[in-house]
């Protein structure tokens, strides 16, 4: 008996440790999100949250559903591989509400040279012009070229 005469101290310490461990487990369960560790060392729900972000570019499939005439013309010409939103910009809002959200009118004098102004780093086979020499620099390109099928419009002065 004399060997354990101070065992009360140990019991008290053990009690404090026990309460501490239980408190840690409870607080940890409350603080760590339930989906943490679902797929790895991260919050599994983060994947679904990031996937839920709204889209801005509708995608060319959405455009083709309504504008089949333009798509047909485009696919017959040199711009067949160029998606609608490459020039017209992000238009998911237009596909959701075609009546009120209208695409902006584009300025071909600014737009076309983004791709077709001469630049030594562009692939040699890519059609390039010096806009100043080609049309004076400010004449809209659609004067002679239909942007959806850009080979010269018949009857236009070259």
């Amino acid at each position: 008996m004399s060997r354990f005469k101070d065992s009360e101290h140990l019991l008290r310490v053990a009690l404090v440790f026990g309460v501490g461990i239980i408190a840690f487990v409870v607080v940890r369960t409350l603080l760590v999100p339930r989906s943490f560790g679902e797929f790895g060392h991260y919050r599994g729900n983060a994947i679904a949250e990031i996937a839920a972000q709204p889209v801005q570019f509708a995608g060319h499939q959405a455009c083709e559903a309504c504008h089949s005439d333009i798509v047909e013309m485009k696919n017959a010409g040199k711009h067949a591989g160029v998606n609608c939103e490459a020039c017209h910009g992000a238009l998911a809002k237009h596909t959701e509400d075609p009546g009120t959200v209208q695409p902006m009118k584009l300025n071909t004098a600014i737009l076309c040279v983004r791709c077709h102004e001469v630049n030594g780093a562009r692939p040699k086979s890519f059609p390039q012009i010096v806009a100043k020499e080609h049309n004076g620099g400010d004449l809209p390109c659609e004067t002679c070229h239909q942007p959806h099928s850009p080979l010269l419009v018949p009857g236009a002065k070259p």
Binding site: R34, F39, H41, R43, P54, G59
Partner: protein
């Protein structure tokens, strides 16, 4: 409010179920999409890039990227044939508004679009101390904005310089490979806006994806292969001087 002890005890299980639902959080956004069926990457064909900056603008519009920061950008390389190992690289405003004509002509000139390489063994996820950045089961490296503490370790760890600290949210940010689009069956914003098809989204787990035929028939490389990051952005026609 008057409640007997019995009523309170009866309400406790209901409260527990409700709390469980709160902890479980938001449900799956794309119910038909299975993460285990995909392994995403991208193909960049340098011989097709014209440096128009469409991808940079599209990325900024799609992902609300703050001004002056880039999730994707385009670099212009000028390599002199007398000094192959020391290229001159410029990227004015990330190539967003295109590139001015080079005064110096001659040598080799080309564009290199850059972005997160969505590494299979990414250094950025390995250094994150809180589990805020991770590789999803379909191979996309993402950042959990709620968990990020803004310590910038991942920004230093990325060998490709693809991350930045969003000045508004003070959390790390980078290309998500338009995860919100590819899980809905769309392509990324940069691929959608690329006029020449220099960028192609690639699903390496899909046997019908054209990427497989391309990888078989072309000499494709990744950036910094010696870093062994398992990069999944494949470059066709990549010059040896590109860093």
């Amino acid at each position: 409010m008057n409640m007997t002890r019995r009523q309170v005890l009866m309400l406790l299980p209901a409260a527990a179920v409700a709390w469980e639902a709160v902890l479980a959080g938001t449900p799956e956004a794309a119910p038909n999409y299975k993460t285990t069926e995909h392994w995403w990457g991208m193909l960049v064909d340098i011989s097709k890039c014209i440096g128009c900056g469409n991808c940079v603008r599209a990325c900024a519009a799609e992902n609300n990227v703050p001004e002056g920061y880039f999730r994707t950008w385009v670099e212009r390389y000028h390599v002199s044939d007398y000094d192959l190992a020391d290229p001159v690289v410029d990227s004015p405003d990330g190539g967003k508004e295109g590139f001015p004509l080079l005064a110096e002509t001659g040598g080799k000139n080309f564009f290199v679009p850059k972005m997160c390489n969505h590494c299979a063994d990414s250094p950025c996820t390995q250094v994150c101390p809180v589990g805020a950045t991770f590789v999803t089961p379909d191979g996309v490296v993402l950042v959990d904005k709620q968990y990020c503490i803004g310590c910038r370790y991942c920004i230093q760890a990325c060998p490709y310089g693809c991350r930045f600290l969003n000045p508004k949210t003070q959390t790390a940010e980078k290309c998500t490979l338009c995860y919100h689009r590819i899980t809905k069956g769309l392509t990324t914003a940069c691929c959608e806006a690329c006029p020449t098809g220099a960028r192609q989204l690639a699903d390496l787990k899909n046997p019908n994806d054209p990427i497989h035929a391309f990888l078989r028939t072309h000499t494709v490389q990744v950036l910094k292969p010696h870093m062994a990051t398992g990069a999944k952005v494949f470059y066709n026609d990549l010059d040896g001087s590109v860093r």
